[in-house]
Symmetry: C2
Subunit: 367 residues, 2 copies
DNA sequence: CTGTTAGCGCTTTCAT
DNA sequence: ATGAAAGCGCTAACAG
């Protein structure tokens, strides 16, 4: 007992702090309180509570049960701020996605959360609103919490983001895209190839004069990739290449954008027979606009989307689209994360990995 | 210098830990490093970095600038785990919503985040999947991080949740509902009253045989409230009261549920002239099903939803719905949070508040 | 398997 | 305005 000015109270009785203590304690029950009650050291309590199936060291099972039940009785809640501080393991994974309001990303978060469920890792979550400076700001704030891994969406980041991540020396996963020059790990698929494949299948069905609609490329790298896939495919197939409509400026591209785009397309290129949209949302908007104007889908114009959002199967006619295993991206990211974090905790480093997530074209009544 | 086994290195040069140190330092640049470089105490650095417009005490402006630039140069990133631990201020707000995949809640999160933007508070975010035990589990995990406030959705919680919150002695906000017996603060509106008002307006338009469709009440308290509002209104208006269809069992109620429900309704009560849905998603599904079957909307059947989701204005005909200021709920919650947390930090406690958020009925072509 | 000791990086408290 | 000392609640490291 070397604490100066000790109030003299045993650690068990939480007397109000003496008049001369340097620092005000929380007031909450601490590990030391639980230990004192049981007449053991707090280290033993710590071991009992921290014990994982993986960690062999811990208290004996009988004692462990007593510790657990006493903790419960006393209303003890471990202070992870303190434990993170002491162990240098925050237990956080930082996750940045472009938008909350997008069920594709929501499904990815879902899959990731499930994969991390039994690990004690918590997700520190942020959304960038498709804005690079916002991403940078959020990441900067998150890094003050010392996350054990960082997950980003896509490969488009400010230079300072790469710099910060390098300095933080933490495992990084970029998801949802296949990247030329990933920071470290990647989990995703080629948005360009998926769109190209969609175009090829529409071509096989007989469509020859296709148009593409999407948002401004700078703010939506995934959309830009899809557009490139479209352009490559129509070129390869010898189809007209100039039928591109850009809406914006703000992502996400909305249903209303789709309605507006389909009108533009039909005005500029009246013989267009298929419209490929950057996502299901504008595709749906386009479909509804066609119904308003009495343009038969798919007879007058075929429409295709991307992402297989709920609306794409609920609408009438149902939308042809690219089906992505969004939850699978999250799950794969989670599994990768576990291995990467375990490696770091053991003083190693997981070799950079690239995980390909398959996609599928769903041909439905809109084409 | 009372540290035993000190390696002898000054704090400036980050030599690898000596062979006999008890604890491995992080390796990252610390406040002490920055201070040493400037020849000042780390306390001064701390003050310079923590200085808020609110806090008057801090370093002189000139020194502060030097500290800031040196920090940047050295790549110093403050360790909020340590500062939270030391100050007993986690800087976290715990937020629990039922679902990520719901733009209403997404908008609320957005509003909340914006309101908290300049406070240094970070959101610790979890979604319950409309499941009370999941909510309890998530909250338990979050409380280990000592959040300075907790935000829940709705008023339906396990008893243990109320107990944990009471023990944590932290400000609590329940949002999205008006509650009989709130835990503490409330921000929301009456789902029952909003639905009742919708029914009254449909009645005024001439609809007389209305049906309601929703999910199982146990898993969706907000849906249950809406149903109660429907029942109260049709009773008050002397309309048939038994036309209730329950789909499920799993919330959220989907577009497909709506398609299925509208068929059931028209089979059981063929003279139904209006269908009120628990949210826009099933309302949209019902609308599409009507189109598939050639039932004219609103001539044969009027359809109304709830929530003013994007699809409700994009579809054709557009859906009559209840417009909620979702972001406003988030914003109001954020403002309340700021005051509540400030109070606690000053050793006070904010009196329990109830903030009413107005709603609006949008009559559109589907009715 | 259990205990002892030291200390993580910051902020509080008190002194100057 | 600045500094020195102490300590927040936990876990690493070592000893037994």
């Amino acid at each position: 007992m070397s604490r100066k000015f000790d109030s003299g109270a045993s650690t068990e009785a939480k007397a109000p702090a003496g008049p001369r203590t340097k620092k005000q304690p929380t007031g909450a029950v601490t590990m030391a309180d639980v230990a004192a009650r049981l007449g053991i050291s707090k280290m033993t309590v710590s071991r009992a509570l921290t014990r994982t199936s993986a960690r062999s060291r811990g208290a004996s099972e009988e004692l462990r049960q007593r510790i657990l039940s006493t903790s419960r009785e006393m209303g003890y809640v471990i202070d992870r701020t303190a434990s993170a501080f002491s162990s240098k393991r925050s237990g956080f994974v930082a996750l940045l996605i472009p938008s909350l309001n997008n069920s594709n990303f929501a499904d990815t978060v879902h899959g990731l959360t499930l994969a991390l469920e039994d690990t004690g890792l918590q997700v520190l979550f942020g959304y960038t609103d498709y804005d690079l400076p916002t991403e940078e700001r959020l990441l900067r704030a998150m890094l003050t919490r010392r996350p054990e891994a960082v997950v980003l969406t896509g490969g488009s980041h400010l230079p300072s983001v790469r710099k910060m991540l390098k300095a933080a020396a933490v495992p990084v996963v970029e998801m949802w895209d296949m990247l030329q020059d990933p920071i470290e790990h990647t989990v995703g698929f080629s948005n360009a190839e998926a769109t190209a494949e969609l175009v090829r299948q529409l071509h096989a069905k007989g469509y020859r004069r296709m148009a593409f609609m999407g948002g401004t490329p700078e703010r939506d790298p995934r959309g830009a990739e899809r557009r490139q896939g479209f352009e490559a495919a129509v070129k390869e197939l010898g189809l007209p290449q100039d039928r591109i409509v850009v809406v914006g400026p703000t992502p996400p591209v909305s249903m209303a954008h789709g309605a507006q785009a389909v009108v533009q397309v039909m005005q500029r290129w009246p013989d267009t027979d298929a419209l490929v949209c950057v996502s299901d949302h504008p595709a749906f908007g386009a479909l509804m606009e066609c119904q308003r104007r009495g343009w038969a889908v798919p007879q007058r114009l075929a429409i295709a989307g991307f992402g297989s959002f709920e609306v794409s199967t609920a609408c009438h006619p149902r939308l042809t689209t690219v089906v992505i295993d969004c939850a699978g991206i999250g799950r794969a990211t989670g599994e990768l994360l576990k291995r990467a974090i375990t490696a770091v905790r053991n003083g190693k480093r997981l070799e950079a990995e690239t995980v390909m997530i398959p996609f599928e074209i769903a041909q439905r009544e809109s084409s």
